[in-house]
């Protein structure tokens, strides 16, 4: 596999251990240290359902180049203990080139790891930790891995001092001592690969941001000042980021009693003129769909973020899947035109979040934003995202005429909205079909007129180039969306190294479908590979329903929690049959 890797200077590391071992903390410190040394990086996490004591893993990929997926095989795995490692061993592919660091005090190496063919090296993590007052095993392991891959010691120490400093001087002293001891353990080990020298970002600012934080920041940048939501994995950390930061800018987050209340609270706040958002995951979105239809009918802008996880039902709450596409696009009863967007990377959560607020406010309709666990709960070190011009701008009726008609039929389909407090603009927003004035009506003529108006405003809008990310112009297209974009893009690069030109089309605007733009993007394409992380090929079926596709078409798909890997896509592209 290594010979296909277009980023040979890239290093991937998996840290595993039981829930209390501090795996995620160590991973974050490694990411921050690498960032401090001028590297880009990506860190994901996987955990079991237990709150404490369950299994947990942090996945990192570090590089002098930007990173948007976890590659095919981990170069280094470090196990603080072997607790339940079999539950996520499939998520940590290893091969003969991988190095697994194991602690002799943790017992025998589990069969599932041993049979991978990876090189095993014993490091006495627990014994070393014992000799350090206040020392923790994760800091020892962090020191070992950092030294092994070439993160400079002084930068690791700076990071530890800054982060542990919040816990007091004792924590810093113990952490530094533990990391130093871990570093010494690395001396006798031979690393499978080390980080190439970082080019350094010069003075350019870099950010360390998670997808869930990115969505939150995009929302605030776009003008959202009211959020109501109910806790749900893996969306909760977006809400926990939003609660204090909304207050920072004079906004407000309400923890609602359930998702039915969440979506209706934001409908109420937005009816009051304040751009509003909720974030949830699949089960919550399913509960909200009736009221998404209400926002369609009453023409109230709202943004509903779905950080997808394995479904159906409770499914796999802590792990990723792209299987909410159907409910997001088709989940409303009645003819209910709305917008569905999808972030295609961790940092694109910011762009897509902000753009979605802009779309909701401009179109006075609900926008469902699809992210997923692998984007939302991953952190990326990236170049500072550009400032975007998208700010929610609702066309309002500031001084309504004597016979104000809230649902006036206009050429664009968008009617100036009056907000409560505006004299002369009084109207009743209604989920019942209505006439232009807003008065309930069951007449065929009113129904048709309002259906067409609501359809027109969504389909007639100019979404610009943002509807998709398109790379290359080869005759072999890779069509994908969301978190599958990162591995698909890397697969296209690998194919190019082998002389195969491809074209990546990653759709950011799932609804309404962009027929003409898609046709233009696909001009000259002879073959296409559809890539998605579902069992039932929801994205492929969606494409079939809305777009003209080449006859020679294949689908590369599997359900979560295993991520789509660049190698499996490359294989399909190179060995087309």
């Amino acid at each position: 596999m290594a010979d296909q890797d277009p980023l040979p200077e890239t290093v991937s590391v998996a840290l595993t251990g039981s829930g209390g071992a501090g795996v995620v903390t160590a991973g974050q410190m490694l990411l921050e240290s690498a960032a401090g040394a001028g590297y880009y990086g990506l860190m994901g996490r996987s955990s079991g359902p237990q709150i404490r004591g369950g299994e947990s893993a942090a996945f990192l990929r570090l590089s002098p180049q930007p990173v948007a997926n976890f590659g095919d095989v981990f170069d280094i795995m470090i196990a603080f203990d072997w607790m339940n490692v079999d539950r996520f061993a499939a998520e940590i592919p290893l091969d003969g080139h991988s190095l697994v660091l194991c602690d002799p005090d943790a017992g025998a190496v589990p069969e599932v790891i041993a049979k991978s063919g990876a090189r095993l090296a014993e490091v006495p993590l627990k014994a070393t930790t014992k000799d350090i007052p206040g020392g923790r095993i994760n800091m020892v392991g962090l020191g070992t891995v950092a030294a092994l891959i070439g993160v400079p010691e002084e930068i690791l120490n700076e990071t530890l001092t800054r982060i542990l400093g919040r816990k007091g001087e004792g924590a810093v002293t113990a952490g530094l001592a533990a990391a130093r001891a871990g570093l010494a353990l690395a001396g006798s080990l031979e690393a499978p690969c080390r980080l190439a020298a970082a080019g350094g970002g010069g003075d350019a600012e870099r950010w360390n941001v998670s997808g869930n934080e990115g969505i939150g920041l995009g929302a605030i940048r776009g003008g959202v000042r009211f959020v109501a939501a109910y806790p749900i994995t893996p969306a909760t950390d977006a809400l926990e980021w939003l609660a204090p930061n909304l207050e920072n800018v004079g906004g407000h987050l309400v923890q609602a009693e359930d998702e039915l209340a969440s979506v209706n609270m934001i409908i109420g706040a937005s009816f009051g003129g304040v751009p509003s958002l909720t974030a949830t995951s699949g089960p919550g979105l399913a509960l909200m769909m009736e009221s998404v239809g209400l926002a369609v009918a009453a023409e109230v802008p709202i943004v509903v973020v779905d950080v997808m996880r394995g479904g159906p039902s409770t499914g796999i709450p802590t792990k990723s899947e792209q299987s909410d596409l159907n409910v997001a696009v088709y989940g409303c009863h009645g003819d209910a035109p709305h917008v569905v967007t999808a972030a295609n990377s961790v940092v694109d959560c910011l762009f897509t979040g902000q753009w979605s607020v802009h779309l909701a406010e401009s179109l006075q309709c609900p926008v469902i934003v699809l992210s997923d666990q692998s984007l939302g709960q991953s952190r990326a070190v990236v170049d500072r995202p550009a400032d975007l011009a998208f700010v929610g701008q609702r066309e309002t009726a500031a001084a309504p005429a004597a016979e104000y008609r809230r649902y006036a039929v206009t050429a664009s389909g968008v009617s100036p909205a009056s907000v409560p407090g505006t004299p002369g603009g009084e109207f009743v927003a209604d989920g019942l079909e209505h006439n232009p004035r807003g008065t309930p009506s069951s007449m065929a003529e009113d129904h048709l007129m309002q259906l067409e108006k609501r359809q027109r405003k969504v389909t007639g809008f100019d979404y610009g180039d943002h509807w998709a990310a398109i790379d290359g112009s080869g005759e072999l297209a890779v069509i994908t969306w969301g978190s599958s974009t990162g591995p698909a893009r890397e697969a296209c690069r690998r194919a190019a190294q082998r002389g195969l030109a491809t074209r990546l089309v990653s759709i950011r605007l799932l609804a309404p479908a962009q027929g003409e733009k898609f046709a233009a993007a696909m001009a000259g394409v002879k073959r296409a590979l559809v890539v998605e992380q579902t069992h039932s090929q929801q994205f492929y079926r969606y494409l079939r329903a809305h777009y003209d596709l080449p006859d020679d078409l294949q689908v590369c798909h599997h359900p979560g929690p295993l991520p789509i890997r660049p190698g499996e896509i490359t294989e399909r592209l190179i060995n087309w049959s």
């Binding site: 950010w207 004079g250 409908i267 706040a269 009816f271 009051g272 002369g424 927003a429 989920g431």
Partner: protein, 278 residues
């Protein structure tokens, strides 16, 4: 803003729309509409300062029959819409209107949590112990032995919901019972409810002449509670659990502070973004 009519007080009639109600002749909800418009007039509020939020059912049609801002949403979620509106726009006067099915059955969870949350809203529930809009099924407040519906031919067999006691236990800050047959008395209760901070709950006996014609007798059964409103939840609880369901008046004044309004901005977008810098 509006300078032309600022000094001119609006009459009850000014708060009525020109849209003809779908209600049956003799429906109690006519009296409630009348009381709401009288109360708004008495409060001296301008139309644009008022929003009336509702769910689904006969009584939830009320917003369209007024000339204030209104929102007629989905079944059971009116309190959530209203809370969002009030928190986003604290200067508005927000009333919530609905029926016993909307508020206590499909919306029961929101009723409980709206009382707990204590956002400054006035919740008017028109209780006729029946689902009228779907043509006469048992509601949460229907007596267990009522056999008037084909859906429950042997009666529901389950105890009716006790709205006032639930509201008290859940933390409502103002609890009153009114009668649609006395629009003037009801209007006074609504005025009190709007003026009282926090979640004010007004339970309104509002007969359904079509599916519960026997409720015409309520007029004779209704009477003044004849007690001073208490601020003691213990006394109020005893009163609410033991009265005959027809005592009208303010039964409980709470003194809990309403849900806190959002604080003023204390930072900036730039400062938030700086936290992401490596």
């Amino acid at each position: 803003m509006d300078t032309t009519a600022a000094a001119e007080p609006l009459t009850a009639k000014d708060y009525k729309s020109d849209y003809k109600p779908v209600w049956c002749p003799g429906c109690g909800d006519f009296g409630v509409l009348s009381a709401v418009t009288k109360a708004l007039s008495a409060l001296g509020l301008r139309r644009e300062e008022v929003a009336i939020i509702s769910g689904i059912g006969c009584s939830s049609r009320l917003p369209a029959y007024t000339s204030a801002y209104g929102f007629h949403g989905v079944h059971g979620r009116a309190l959530a819409v209203a809370a969002g509106l009030k928190l986003a726009r604290p200067e508005l006067t927000v009333l919530v209107a609905g029926g016993d099915g909307d508020g206590f059955s499909i919306g029961g969870n929101h009723f409980m949590h709206a009382c707990r949350r204590n956002v400054d809203l006035t919740y008017l529930v028109m209780d006729n112990q029946v689902y009228g809009m779907t043509k006469g099924q048992a509601s949460p407040t229907t007596a267990p032995e009522w056999e008037g519906s084909k859906l429950t031919p042997h009666g529901t067999g389950i105890n009716p919901f006790v709205p006032l006691a639930v509201a008290l236990a859940a933390g409502a800050n103002f609890i009153a019972r009114g009668f649609s047959g006395d629009p003037n008395g009801l209007a006074k209760l609504i005025v009190d409810a709007v003026r009282h901070p926090g979640l004010s709950f007004v339970h309104i006996l509002s007969p359904c002449t079509t599916y519960r014609p026997e409720q015409k007798d309520w007029k004779a059964l209704v009477g003044d509670a004849g007690v001073e409103p208490t601020t003691d939840p213990g006394r109020a609880g005893k009163r609410l659990m033991s009265d005959d369901g027809f005592r009208v008046g303010v039964l409980y004044y709470g003194n809990r502070p309403p849900y806190a309004e959002p604080p003023a901005a204390r930072s900036s977008l730039e400062a938030i973004e700086q936290a992401f810098a490596v």
